[in-house]
Amino acid sequence: MDEAEINYYVLFDNYTQGLALQELLQSEAILARITPTPHVLQGELSCGMALLVLPRDLEAVRACIDRHGAAIHEIVSLPCQIRPRRDRFC
C-alpha cells in the first residue's frame, strides 16, 4: 500500500492529553489535525479525539512525545478509507 494511503493517528485517553500534545506539536511546527478517534478502534478507546499526523512527520512526533514526556495512548496506522476532496491538511 502506498504510504499516502495510510493515516497515522495519535490516540489519547482523554481530550486533555490530546490538546496538550497538539500544543507541543504546534510549538515545534509539526502539523497535526484533530480528528475523531476512528471508530474501528471501538472497544479499546471509542469516541474522543485523535491527532492525524503526516507520515513524513511520524518520527518527529515520536521524538516530541519522548522529549516532553507527553501522555498518549498509542500511535496507530489505518488505511485511508476516504480521500477527501480537498488539498489541505491542517
Partner: protein
C-alpha cells in the same frame, strides 16, 4: 448598596468575565464531545483554563486540575474520593459545613474514624492537638486555609509537615484564600487544593475545582458521560476525566479563565496587600467602640474578614439595621461554621461578618465603621 459580603461571593467582577461568558454561551459547543470547531473551541477554552489554574495554584500538571460546580462539590469529590470505609481522618473546628457534613456522613455511613482538632477562644487552630491526633494512623487531614468566620489564616505548611510526617494527605479548603493571596500547593505541601471560582477569584458562581498531586487513587464522586472510552462500563481512571462526569460549565469556566487573567494582570501580592489594608482600616475603626466585640486573631496573617457583635444584640437584627438604615450588606448568623461559633461562644446570637474584596473602597469601609459606631451608641 455597600456590599461587604465578599466572603459569601464577590459581586463586582472584572468586565472581561462577563464578556468571556457571553462569548462562550453563544459560541462554544460541548467540550470533549466531538471534534468539530464549536466543540474544540470549548475544549481549548477549558484546557486553557486548566493550564492557568495549574500555574496559579502551583499544580505541576494541568491535567490534574478538575473543575466542579463549586467548592462544596470539590470537597465532596476529594473527601468521598480518597477516604475509604474505616479510614481515620482529622479535621478542625474552623471548618465550614462543606467539610464537616461530608465527613459526618462518612462517619455515620462508612465507619470513618473522625477526629476534630479544637480551636482556642480567638478561633486559632491548636497545632499541638493536631500533632497528638496524628499519632494514630491517619489517611487525611482536611483543613481550611482561612476561617470563613474569623478570617484567621491557618499555617498550612505546618499542617502539611505534620500530616506528611505521619503519612497522611492534606486536603485544603481554600475558599477564602484563592485569589486573595498566593496559594501554592507545592510550596505549602497541599495534596489536594480545593477552590471556588466566585469569591476571591472574581469568577462566576457555578465554578470551582480542585488541583491534585499525582498518584492519588480516586474513587469518583459521580460517574457518567465523558465523551471518551464510551464502551467501558466504568469511569475512565485518568485525570481529569475520572472526576468530571457530565457536561462541564463551559461559560462559567470561560468566565473563570478571564478572572484568572485579570488577577494575574493585577498581581496577587498587590491584591493581598490591598485587602489587608482594608481589613486593618475596618478593624482599627471598630475595635475600640464601646460594646463591640471583634472575634479572631489580628496579630497574624489573615483573610479580609472581620466578625463582630454589638453589645448583646442579635446578629440578625444588626445586619437588618445595617441593610435597612445604612444600605450595607453583611452576613449575620452562623455562616455554616457551627464549631467555630461554639469555640467563640457565639452559638446563641451568631455574629455579624464584614468581608472585603479588591474592589472595596476606603469610603465604604469608613461608612461601615460609622454605622457600627452609631448602632453601638444607640444601644
Amino acid at each position: 448598596m455597600i456590599y461587604l459580603d465578599n466572603a459569601a461571593t464577590t459581586v463586582r467582577k472584572p468586565d472581561t468575565v462577563a464578556e468571556a461568558m457571553v462569548k462562550a454561551l453563544q459560541g462554544w459547543g460541548n467540550s470533549s464531545r466531538g471534534v468539530h470547531d464549536t466543540s474544540l473551541q470549548a475544549a481549548r477554552g477549558i484546557y486553557s483554563a486548566r493550564c492557568k489554574a495549574a500555574a496559579f495554584f502551583g499544580c505541576r500538571r494541568p491535567d490534574h486540575v478538575a473543575f466542579a460546580s463549586n467548592i462544596t462539590e470539590s470537597l465532596n469529590v476529594a473527601i468521598s474520593g480518597l477516604l475509604r470505609p474505616g479510614d481515620r481522618a482529622i479535621t478542625t473546628a474552623l471548618e465550614h459545613n462543606s467539610v464537616l457534613r461530608p465527613l459526618y456522613r462518612l462517619q455515620d455511613e462508612q465507619r470513618l474514624d473522625l477526629a476534630i482538632v479544637p480551636a482556642d477562644s480567638q478561633g486559632c487552630l491548636d497545632y499541638k492537638s493536631l500533632e497528638e491526633a496524628l499519632r494514630q494512623e491517619t489517611k487525611a487531614v482536611i483543613c481550611t486555609h482561612a476561617s470563613n468566620l474569623t478570617g484567621n489564616v491557618v499555617d498550612l505548611r505546618r499542617v502539611s509537615e505534620l500530616a506528611h510526617k505521619s503519612g497522611a494527605l492534606l486536603i485544603a479548603d481554600c475558599a477564602q484564600t484563592a485569589g486573595t493571596r498566593p496559594v501554592d500547593m507545592e510550596d505549602l505541601g497541599i495534596d489536594v487544593l480545593c477552590f471556588t471560582g466566585h469569591k476571591g477569584l472574581l469568577g462566576p458562581q457555578g465554578t470551582g475545582g480542585l488541583c491534585a498531586r499525582e498518584g492519588l487513587n480516586w474513587r469518583p464522586f459521580k460517574v457518567g458521560g465523558t465523551g471518551v472510552q464510551s464502551y467501558s462500563r466504568t469511569q475512565p481512571q485518568l485525570m481529569p476525566t475520572v472526576l468530571e462526569a457530565g457536561t462541564l460549565n463551559g461559560p462559567g469556566i470561560a468566565g473563570l479563565s478571564a478572572a484568572l487573567d485579570y488577577i494575574s494582570s493585577v498581581g496577587l501580592d498587590k491584591i493581598a496587600q490591598r485587602e489587608s489594608e482594608l481589613t486593618q482600616r475596618f478593624y482599627s475603626g471598630v475595635r475600640d467602640i464601646q460594646g463591640v466585640t471583634v472575634y479572631g486573631d489580628f496579630s497574624r496573617e489573615r483573610a479580609a474578614v472581620v466578625a463582630l457583635n454589638i453589645a448583646d444584640l442579635d446578629s440578625g437584627a444588626v445586619a437588618d439595621v445595617l441593610a435597612e438604615d445604612y444600605g450595607i450588606a453583611v452576613r449575620a448568623g452562623a455562616h455554616c461554621a457551627p464549631l467555630m461559633h461554639k469555640a467563640l461562644g457565639t452559638q446563641e446570637r451568631g455574629a455579624v461578618r464584614f468581608s472585603f474584596s479588591w474592589f472595596t473602597e476606603d469610603a465604604e469601609i469608613d461608612a461601615a465603621v460609622l454605622a457600627v459606631r452609631e448602632i453601638a451608641e444607640r444601644t
